[in-house]
Symmetry: C2
């Protein structure tokens, strides 16, 4: 029937020719099928021709011409497995971005030199319409920082407001202080803090919150020891073993995330300790399966989904040129204390 298969996919010209109209009409029609800038008859001719030719607009060309890609670069943290809260943030962001027709490009997860270059190149290449940072560490390449790519950027989960990047975060320091204060009020005096990796933003903030609350309480005999961890369950287990070997144990442990807290509890219980009677444990993040370990993990829930939504929202507004009011540089969602079974007054 038809002639031999064309080596190239059809273009607008082909559609225009087939429909007997001008390319501009085709463009107008396809860009907005509901447009009234084109006559009903012409439109139907065009639509039919496009249908028959199996035509789709070449998005690469359109994006190039329009100087927009509909792509948002998500800068991911170099951690594996991906932190659950980060997933929540992504999900939240996706919800609002999808609604506006945007899709997410994910910075490669592995963080080698070359991979960082890839990410930075993409941003400097002007491909993404916006950047949402969901990572404490920013890809750099030969002194080029993501932040100077001239692309609207917002940070979620990590506070980058000091660099001029609007940030949507949770108030780690406050919620960490609140946790310590609760435990103090319950009668705890000997604390351990199970840290995240050195330099991590949440680690720093949460530790500060805990230390400040304990120091600020001004209670005699109050002490805080710091145990080094790295967010992994394994490091939580290691901390547990260390604790088991001690004579004078803390009565309460605050872990910088739930994963470590769970590893810790596991080892402590295997070692014969009762939780919370012998040791109270509080985690951080509010991961979903904290409910299912024993005892159910008391923790601080971070509203990742909300943060993702708000971050995407902020980004969209930034992209549309809306200047950020000064009070919007740092938007903080409070963490929520989830009282479950792993923490109680000492000895209770």
């Amino acid at each position: 029937m038809s002639d031999s298969a064309p080596s190239r996919p059809p273009t607008m010209r082909d559609v225009a020719k087939a429909a007997g109209v001008a390319v501009s009409s085709v463009s107008r029609t396809l860009a907005d099928p509901e447009t009234r800038k084109v006559g009903a008859e012409t439109r139907s001719k065009i639509l039919r021709a496009a249908e028959e030719l199996g035509y789709s607009v070449n998005l690469a060309a359109a994006n190039f011409r329009r100087r927009a890609s509909g792509l948002i670069l998500m800068v991911m943290p170099p951690r594996h497995p991906v932190i659950p809260v980060v997933l929540d943030v992504l999900h939240g962001a996706d919800t609002v971005l999808a609604e506006k027709g945007y899709r997410m490009v994910v910075s490669n997860l592995a963080k080698s030199q070359e991979v960082n270059k890839l990410t930075v190149d993409l941003a400097f290449g002007g491909v993404p319409d916006g950047i949402l940072v969901v990572s404490g560490s920013l890809p750099q390449d030969r002194g080029r920082s993501l932040l100077r790519a001239g692309v609207p950027t917002v940070s979620a989960l990590y506070d980058l407001s000091w660099t001029g990047i609007p940030s949507v975060v949770t108030d780690d320091r406050d919620s960490a202080s609140a946790v310590a204060q609760r435990l103090l009020a319950a009668g705890h005096r000997r604390f351990a803090y199970l840290s995240g990796p050195e330099g991590n933003y949440h680690e720093t903030e949460r530790f500060r919150g805990v230390s400040a609350a304990i120091a600020g309480a001004g209670l005699a005999g109050t002490e805080l020891v710091r145990i080094e961890g790295d967010f992994s369950a394994a490091s939580g287990e290691a901390a547990g073993r260390a604790l088991l070997g001690q004579a004078e144990r803390p009565t309460a442990v605050i872990a910088c995330n739930d994963t470590m807290a769970i590893g810790l509890m596991h080892v402590l219980r295997s070692g014969g300790l009762r939780i919370p009677q012998d040791v109270s444990v509080v985690g951080y993040d509010g991961i979903s399966w904290g409910r299912y370990v024993e005892p159910a993990l008391t923790t601080v829930e971070i509203p990742g989904f909300e943060i993702g939504k708000a971050g995407a929202d902020r980004l969209l507004r930034l992209m549309s040129g809306e200047a950020a009011p000064a009070d919007a540089m740092r938007q903080a969602f409070p963490g929520r204390y989830l009282e479950r079974a792993s923490a109680a007054p000492p000895g209770a």
Copy 2:
């Protein structure tokens, strides 16, 4: 010092002019800084000029011209939270894709009509160089299927080989049979199968495997009841409550994923049942925190990372025009039985 800020970022022309060379030389140099098709002197002039002007190549233009974007579309399942195994697959794929300079575009997670259109449009628009499907359901839009977008496509985790899409999977049916056979050999006769959502690929396969093994054993008095679940922990808990209310309980439950198994165990234990003495429970997937619930969950570990790597590898080869040998249409990685504490001979 310099003149007023230019409204437009510098182009290759600007660099060429500043360096006193032709744009083609600039292109050659910047496309491959190591190229020997350009003299050392011209190269350095070009590099310096680019540096001074703060020039970056416009990737949108380059992609357009080159007919390649360096982007791989990852089709995600419409489930929340994201299934842990899917994350492993992504991680594996990322590992090999990043090495080759590709980045991942994620299909929006929400699966509304419009969002599907977005994804399909992207593919038909010719933006992604390849598509990796990590989902059982494919985005459709007005009869246009992702698979007909003319973009090289590979499926990971879900078997799409019947549609002609090379698929890298795990052999669900076999491993499910193997689980049932182990339990039979241990003496179990009354089974329950806790299903995934109706129509789900893994659900179908695993149920088939379990049924086949139990039917095939030909042992008198062997029975299998099916309980409907949907992969969520809540549905596992519901199943647990149902079981608690029964007089004649199964001695072994095979759950279609770990999340449900964990919810189930939680309720069963709250109801006073001992696991595995009263009821054995086996999950599916091998999620990392199965170790930390009580008792530690026996499960079938799916090698998601390997599958992701192999899938990306397959895709890359497909993209480079390599025809798939017939035996590569379906590549299966075996699931691994992880024997832990939640399953044992009945009564033991």
